[in-house]
Symmetry: C2
Subunit: 243 residues, 2 copies
Amino acid sequence: MNYLKFKKSLSNYAKDFFNEDSFENRKNIRIKKESTVAKNLEKIFDATLKISNKKGFQAMTMRDLSMESELSMGALYSYFSSKEDLLKMLQSQRRSVTKRILEEYTNHETGIADKLRTAIRIHLYLSEAMQPWFYFSYMETKNISGPEQAKAIESELYTEKIFENILNEGEKLGVFLHRNHQLTASVTKAMLQDWYLKRWKYAKRNISVEQYAKYLISIIETFCLSTEHEKSAKKTRGENESH
Amino acid sequence: MNYLKFKKSLSNYAKDFFNEDSFENRKNIRIKKESTVAKNLEKIFDATLKISNKKGFQAMTMRDLSMESELSMGALYSYFSSKEDLLKMLQSQRRSVTKRILEEYTNHETGIADKLRTAIRIHLYLSEAMQPWFYFSYMETKNISGPEQAKAIESELYTEKIFENILNEGEKLGVFLHRNHQLTASVTKAMLQDWYLKRWKYAKRNISVEQYAKYLISIIETFCLSTEHEKSAKKTRGENESH
DNA sequence: GTCTATACACAGATAGAC
DNA sequence: GTCTATCTGTGTATAGAC
């Protein structure tokens, strides 16, 4: 699966972003008409991400948001009851979408080495497709009140656990070496996050998400794959001695 | 060099943090007596980091800062002229200190493989010793106005370049393999940063900075060292087949 | 459903006594 | 050098017309 294919298949999800079923915050919104809600919420969320990623969520004023979203302040407040509420809605909506996509794509692989590769790829592709939100979420959730912050931490540990489990399973099967898999999972996550946190840097250097994925996979596999599997993996990755 | 030794040797630097020579912002401060400035600025900076790392710099009010630093609002404003000015002072002061320390410690090594190891170690040790500032700096500098933000980016690329140069030099000497060294340097930086960005996680798991350093070095070396050097490196690191 | 106008709280910053 | 009291701008949020 390459990025283009991934991105195309995403459009199926975009449609029902704000469906009553999948969108638990629907009840808090005063507006009746479904299509109006979908249209304007998208505007609002996009504007929020755009402004916040420039100057921070706290520094974004409702007047900023009103300008950028092309809705009056009065109109804005018929979609949420407070600035904090807006943040919660945005987070819960996006979090549920990403979780659903992640699980759907990663459960297909059967081979354990492929599982690791796919997990890395899909994580990267997803953060590429939704970069503004991933960036926002990393930077802002730490400042949120109690229960929301707990969800952020839970989410961090959840995706890390995915990698840890794959590595553990692979060791049992003799595919991966004995390592501190928890630590490997942590630093893997760190490298995945760097992709959306320093996007400006990689963009300037013309590194594509495919290249980055391939590089990351080769680092992790070189470290984790047992010797015999490493040889065939190198071939699959299309590498020769001098890279 | 282990962390304890490193930390002890740091106290020599702490003394002249606010020396007229090394502290360019001294002239903007109305207070005359040197020892008062040193004492109170430390209080102010510490309080700033503490509050900001909890709720963000923007969300920190001057009343918060007044409480935490045990100085009245009036007193605060005799040390800086605005909130933004406080941020600039804190950044420039800490940046100059870290740069000086980094260069001093990393220039000692002669062997190229040791150079890489030391660079990793010192970066980690330094961010461990000054974790609150490193965290703050990562999270907040993006929201700063023009020239300050440029300095932050410059700093990011500067430390990355250090690693890239070491890897390039090592390849010429036949110690390191041919890789995309710029990319390796980037992800190395990402893993270094994870140490101070997710400190709560590593603390909870009782991972020491020494352990993290060792692990990071082994990942990078496994990926970069040429075969013959890798064998001796494993011995030096005290590893056997099953880690 | 969306707008304009406005209430009200709280932020950053300063004046002037001690 | 440090304090308390206060000014003034700006932010969030709402009321009520259209």
